[in-house]
């Protein structure tokens, strides 16, 4: 039953471009991006219990580094992604080291992550090599000459790229959740003192979580850079980005493999549907949609504080 359901879903996702229009694909591409970023955040917060409100930093570095490498040296983003990963992990290591070395936890740690994202934003606003606040622009190749190894292509191409990345991220989370590392992270999240008494090295466990999470988030950056083909520090590193990407995992269900998937699959289309609904109802006042979206968030967290997926899984009997 479970396998049949999973296979049917996989088949539907693979076949979607045959039936879905471009608009639907563009929404799905967004969904997959949010799944990827949400899974990265889910690993760090949901599994290792470290609250980050600065994940835009890793996404942003993952966007800028491959973009710059491609722009200046013609390096394929398929290679550049690893450089972006390294940069993001370096930033994660710095934040993690500070936080762990000085015992900065909880809300304080969250603020530390915000501080680093903001510091990076201001720094990038002033770096000439990144185009500063004026932005970094990736040239567009004419249609027909788009090269997949340069991560260039139409919506169907990006649909499959983001689908693969989202599925890969979910697979990695599923694997990690059952691995030794995942167990230790969850132990540290639930009770660091007890975990340490059993022999878990807190520093190492938490650092691993930060590094894996920042690396995964940086992959989403490559898509941001090469899908939109322009980067501005004030957009890429903005705190609202960090906040946007944590909504799906929380609403879907933190610390579960499918929570971020369910969250993204509900929230992004919900936002689109609200926009369309508001338009159709003739309530074309700017802000109506955001009010409705805010009320939706309040309602969901009120009714299902631990997220929709754990509840749904119980109802479906697939927990």
């Amino acid at each position: 039953m479970r396998w049949a359901l999973g296979l049917a879903l996989a088949g539907a996702l693979l076949a979607a471009p045959l039936v879905a229009g471009r608009y639907e694909l563009s929404v799905l591409i967004l969904v997959f991006q949010f799944v990827l970023m949400g899974q990265a955040w889910n690993l760090m917060m949901g599994y290792a219990g470290q609250l980050s409100l600065g994940h835009a930093l890793y996404v942003g570095l993952g966007a800028y580094v491959p973009a710059l490498l491609w722009l200046h040296f013609g390096v394929s983003p398929l290679l550049g992604v690893f450089a972006g990963m390294a940069a993001a992990m370096l930033a994660g290591a710095a934040i993690g080291w500070l936080g762990l070395r000085f015992g900065i936890e909880g809300v304080y740690f969250a603020l530390l992550t915000i501080a680093f994202a903001e510091i990076t934003r201001v720094a990038f606003d002033h770096l000439p090599v990144t185009g500063g606040a004026g932005g970094l622009f990736l040239p567009v190749t004419p249609e027909g000459r788009a090269a997949w190894w340069m991560l260039d292509g139409g919506p169907v191409f990006f649909y499959y790229v983001t689908l693969a990345l989202a599925a890969g991220a979910t697979g990695v989370v599923a694997w990690l959740a059952r691995s030794r590392m995942g167990f230790l992270w969850r132990a540290v999240r639930d009770d660091p003192v007890a975990a340490e008494a059993l022999g878990v090295n807190l520093f190492r466990a938490r650092m691993q979580a930060i590094l894996v999470s920042s690396a995964m988030a940086s992959v989403a950056g490559v898509v941001v850079a090469f899908y939109y083909r322009n980067l501005f520090p004030s957009q890429v590193f903005d705190m609202s980005r960090s906040i946007e990407l944590i909504l799906a995992p929380i609403i879907g269900g933190l610390g579960t493999v499918l929570g971020p998937v369910v969250g993204a699959a509900l929230l992004t289309p919900a936002g689109e549907a609200l926009a369309a609904l508001v338009h159709r109802a003739g309530l074309d006042a700017p802000g109506v949609k955001a009010v409705a979206y805010g009320l939706l968030l309040i309602a969901v967290i009120w009714v299902r504080p631990s997220g929709i997926w754990p509840w749904l899984a119980r109802r479906l009997g697939v927990s």
Binding site: R101, I114, V122, G287, V288, A290, G294, I301, P305
Partner: protein, 290 residues
């Protein structure tokens, strides 16, 4: 000599601006310090108060400094109701759940304000808004001077309330030892609602005062929240004097960085200051060690 005079002027400006920042952060500190809930809708409520002050001025020619009192009262009621009706079940729950709740509140409030007042900044033009005093090389604006003075008085009043009134003492007891407070029969829910109300009243008064310096506009909200958050952490969780001190530190730090360095990079320095405080004195400058 000229440089020294200029620097003195810049530092004084930083202190004044910082006191305004501190005043803005006071309400966040009250709520965060007692209920341990980060009010992510902090900035939105400040903007709400700014619009209220704008309305009071355009409709009834009420000076924002006078309007601050009824606006604070209104915000108190909103805060009390909000805690009772919405936030209460989330007290003591995971931070991310509180976060989503209040981020949702912020989103609703901000966009209601956008729908109600539009995106254009709403100015309150007061006869004294552009007055300033020159004391030697230092120039002091009248509006900032008034707001800074109110910041000091208000902080004193709130500290006094928490120290010398029965309710205030009871609220502090809740903050220090929740279980103990419940055991000795304090109505924690009511006290928390009062605290949220008082916190929002501070935000309301601060927002109302702020229109003497800055125009009401929805785009301000995010900045207020983030800055308030930083100031509270730097000053020390639950320390009201700390909020003021944190504000002044940020104000002076940004003013000096802006003057001696590039102004567009000044926020960088407040974040670096924050990182330094987190690392070296995580409980904040005036906070008690946990």
């Amino acid at each position: 000599m000229i440089m020294a005079e200029l620097l003195l002027g810049v530092v004084v400006q930083g202190v004044m601006t910082g006191l305004v920042y501190g005043l803005m952060a006071l309400g966040l500190s009250v709520i965060f310090g007692v209920i341990r809930v980060v009010n992510f809708a902090h900035g939105e409520f400040a903007v709400l108060a700014m619009y209220a002050a704008w309305l009071a001025h355009t409709q009834w020619q009420l000076d924002p400094i006078l309007a601050a009192l009824p606006i604070a009262a209104g915000c108190f009621a909103i805060g009390y109701g909000l805690q009772r009706g919405l936030v209460s079940p989330f007290v003591g729950r995971a931070e991310h759940e509180q976060f989503i709740l209040l981020a949702g509140v912020a989103m609703v409030l901000l966009n209601l304000l956008l729908m109600g007042f539009g995106p254009d900044a709403r100015p309150v033009n007061l006869p004294y808004a552009l007055d300033s005093y020159a004391i030697g090389p230092v120039i002091l604006d009248k509006a900032r001077l008034i707001v800074a003075a109110v910041a000091l008085v208000m902080t004193g009043a709130v500290i006094g309330f928490f120290r010398f009134t029965r309710t205030g003492t009871a609220i502090r007891a809740c903050a220090d030892n929740l279980l103990g407070a419940a055991v000795v029969g304090l109505d924690v829910k009511r006290l928390y609602a009062l605290t949220f109300g008082i916190g929002l009243a501070c935000v309301g008064a601060a927002g109302a005062m702020l229109v003497t310096i800055s125009d009401a506009s929805p785009v301000l909200a995010h900045g207020f929240t983030l800055q308030g958050f930083i100031i509270v952490i730097i000053g020390g969780l639950g320390s009201l004097g700390g909020a003021l001190l944190g504000g002044v530190l940020i104000g002076v730090c940004e003013a000096l960085a802006g003057f001696l360095w590039q102004p567009s990079m000044k926020s960088l320095f407040s974040f670096l200051l924050l990182v330094a405080v987190l690392a070296l004195r995580p409980q904040g400058l005036l906070g008690k060690r946990a």
